[in-house]
């Protein structure tokens, strides 16, 4: 008897399936070129202005461009949930490019060279040459150019209170910590993050790299080309972390700590410019990252430098126009407009050279830092082990006089980072 209810259910299932099967074939017959764009919330007004400019450039084409909100820092997560349903054109932070390429979500821009030549009359080489070399390098994976650089100020440098720390003292961790201790203040940095703490290793000549299969290469447990060992770098980091005037800050907590008023120096980025200016008042100053000491030698830290890109979905329906729109949103005029509207540092060389950009305080520090920086290439397995390692150092859980234990810990780190993606 209980099977009686099945016919009704089955009929409904079959009807639903039939509808679903038929739904696929009934594509809309209107010929408007539909493009969906995702950008940061704060960028919406600017983006709609730029999109209007793009539409005005091609009056013959009937565009239907939809703008949506998606933070650049989480774009990857949303896109990879369902690539075919994601936006056609989207802004994202440069560290996400490897996962996006790995998942086949980003369009290879070389394929659309013809479209650039026919419409805006540019070649891809010209577009690449217009932007800073390092930003183009960051947008290139396995010799393929995957995204248009939009902004180049995503890095960290040193904010300090010049009434406590002199400009000269700000050049080295030793002098910063000494001055801070004398003043009864602290100098802070995020140690438990693979983005920040890698600056010590990059400074000493170590590297991380991304293999074609998506795994990460790392040499931190060996000896760098400069002749420093990983153990020596860790010992220097332990010296800094163990100094009474040093404060290890949790990732994402920098603004709070600046506001607390206990700090006289902090490693952070342009997003904290406002907080630092308020807290340090007249003493507010910014400089490139300080040097640190390995075995008596002074070594500059090298920051991981990040960019903001605009990429195009590989599965975009109107991919030709989507690529042209992405290019338009990142060209010289658009980058200048973006700087005017949002104080975001450009990557376009001509935009960088304008007087307004050159006069901006925080961006000047970023540009100084960019000479001591690397493009961080790392896969998904990099972050957790390096974060954990940074926390171990920050808590002083390793003994600087026990090189064997440090080496073991470094080996475990490299093993975790370089592990295959299972």
């Amino acid at each position: 008897m209980k099977f009686k209810k099945i016919p009704a259910a089955a009929l409904a299932v079959v009807t639903a399936a039939g509808l679903a099967a038929c739904g696929g074939s009934s594509s809309g017959a209107d010929d408007a070129v539909g493009i969906r764009v995702w950008g940061a919330e704060d960028d919406q007004a600017l983006l709609s202005e730029l999109i209007a400019g793009f539409e005005a450039q091609y009056p013959d084409v009937d565009f239907d461009i939809q703008l949506g909100v998606e933070s650049e820092s989480t774009a990857k997560d949303t896109i990879l949930t369902d690539v075919e349903a994601a936006a056609d054109v989207f802004a994202f932070a440069s560290d996400q490019i490897y996962d996006l390429v790995n998942a086949g979500a980003l369009a290879d821009l070389q394929n659309y060279e013809e479209a650039f030549e026919r419409y805006p009359g540019k070649t891809l080489d010209e577009i690449e040459a217009a932007n800073s070399e390092s930003s183009v390098a960051a947008a290139t994976v396995n010799d393929t150019f995957y995204a248009f650089p939009m902004a180049g100020d995503n890095s960290y440098f040193l904010y300090y209170d010049s009434s406590v720390i002199s400009e000269e003292d700000a050049g080295s961790w030793d002098t910063i910590l000494e001055a801070a201790q004398t003043a009864g203040k602290k100098a802070g940095m995020v140690f438990s993050s693979g983005w920040y703490n890698a600056a010590f290793f990059y400074g000493a000549g170590f590297m991380t790299d991304l293999n074609p299969d998506g795994t990460t290469a790392m040499d931190w447990n060996g000896t760098s080309p400069e002749g420093y060992t990983g153990v020596q770098v860790v010992q220097s980091m332990l010296d800094i972390a163990g100094h009474p005037a040093f404060m290890s800050i949790a990732d994402g907590d920098t603004a709070n700590q600046i506001a607390s008023g206990n700090l006289c120096a902090i490693v952070s980025g342009s997003w904290d410019a406002q907080a630092a200016q308020t807290a340090f008042g007249d003493g507010y100053a910014a400089a490139r990252l300080p040097d640190f000491t390995i075995d008596g030698t002074s070594v500059p830290m090298k920051s991981a430098f990040g960019y903001k890109f605009i990429g195009v979905n590989e599965y975009s329906e109107n991919i030709g126009w989507a690529v042209l729109l992405a290019e338009y949103l990142t060209n010289e005029e658009s980058q200048i407009r973006r700087f005017e509207a949002r104080q975001i540092g450009p990557t376009n060389l001509r935009a960088v050279a304008t007087d307004e950009v050159q006069a901006n305080y925080a961006i000047a520090a970023v540009i100084a830092q960019s000479e001591y920086s690397v493009i961080q290439k790392a896969g998904g397995k990099y972050w957790d082990p390096v974060q954990s390692f940074g926390e171990i150092i920050a808590q002083g859980a390793l003994d600087r006089n026990d090189p064997a234990a440090i080496q073991t810990s470094l080996d475990a780190l490299v093993e975790g980072v370089t592990a295959a993606i299972e």
Partner: protein, 478 residues
Amino acid sequence: MKQDNLSAEMTSGGFFSDFCRAVTKGDLFVKLSMLWMGAGYARRKQYIKAALMTLFEIAVIVFTVQFAMEYVPKFGGLGSVMPEKTFNIETMKNEFNDYDNSFQILLFSLFSFVVWITAAAVWMYNMVSVYRLQLMEEAGVRIRTFKEDLISFKEEKFHITLLALPVLGVVIFTVVPILLLILVAFTNYDQNHMPPGGLFTWVGFQNFISLFGGGGLTVSFGYAFVRVLGWTLVWAFFATITTYIGGIVLSLLLNSKKTRAPRLWRTLFIATIAVPQFVSLLLVRNFFANGGIVNTICANIGLTDFLRNIGLVSTSYIPFLSAPGWAHVMIILINIWIGVPYQMLIATGVLMNLPTEQLESARVDGANKFQIFQKITMPYMLFVTGPALVTDFVKNINNFNVIYLLTENVYTTTNQVMANSQAKEVDLLVTWLFRLTQDYYNYKMASAIGIIVFIICAVFTLIAFNRMIKGDKEGTYQ
């Protein structure tokens, strides 16, 4: 009367034997119904039913040919054609080949299986039904008209009408997704095999082997799994017990005649429920952060230095939520604050229904308050709230909110082996699973862990409920 005998005869042997009897003993039209589902009905002049069954059969065949055949044949390997495209400058569009999407193949194949199983059941039921019509005709019983059949769905068969929609909903929204997730656990669906750019395929029990430490590359996964599982169980036990006892104690206090303004106190405690958890938990997380207000106070009153001197703390702050041990205890304590009001409400309700005659006679017999609590109140509480206690335990195994909101971005593990598996000491299986899918797209491992969580919860619930319901304890309290 005759009809009753007939039904008794028909339903005596169970569905499958009925079906076999229909196939073997049915007349020509009943047998023809195996091919044309409407045949038997048409023969008994049930033309509307015949048409409906024919339509159903056509729908299933169309579905099979048009939809299922596109996916099901690829189910064995989950697809092999990678996307390829050429750019057409005239249309400004890419022209794609007909590429495979492993996930779609998996999903739509599964859906097809569900439809087919349903269709097979309908087909078998149809056979039984038309054979029964044959018997009725032979016995000379009047066959109901279609209209009468329809009316019966709001009379004696009303339960079927009521259940049709929920059953359909459960199948589409619960059964299919669960089966899909179970299937994913046997594939290599992860970051490197992500549709549409890549294809994934079956790997058998490989993911479960990795989970338990058998895989070559994933030694750390097994290590992390055991520790995360251990903490999950410890957490579920303490979170359940502490809030349960806390709730009872609190409601006893509030119910005591000596308590003044019990309503005021009750309202205050319920206010904790009124504030959304993620607001209160994130605030508490900030209070107890390494540089948070509690740490500042502790440093100012000298508690931090005291703890440092006796060796409990090695950092310049108290790692309330950022060191193993400390964080474990803190999480359970904070959970008491969050969870006790709920238990208090339940306990208050139960205490109000305590059999007063038993309490009276105990008092007359000279039992003191503790004895009454131990011998009457507590056993009664346990009896009434036992099933809720089991549910709470299972809920706490999957208590995502408290753990995630209190530890995300605050707790950094210093155990490198755990970190190599993206796990932390304070992770529950669900929070670990969440991070694996959200940050690392490791769907296959997440599915495998999900199945394990399900098994643990199911086994525990079964055992606990069986124990609790076994024996006629109910009589004790009547």
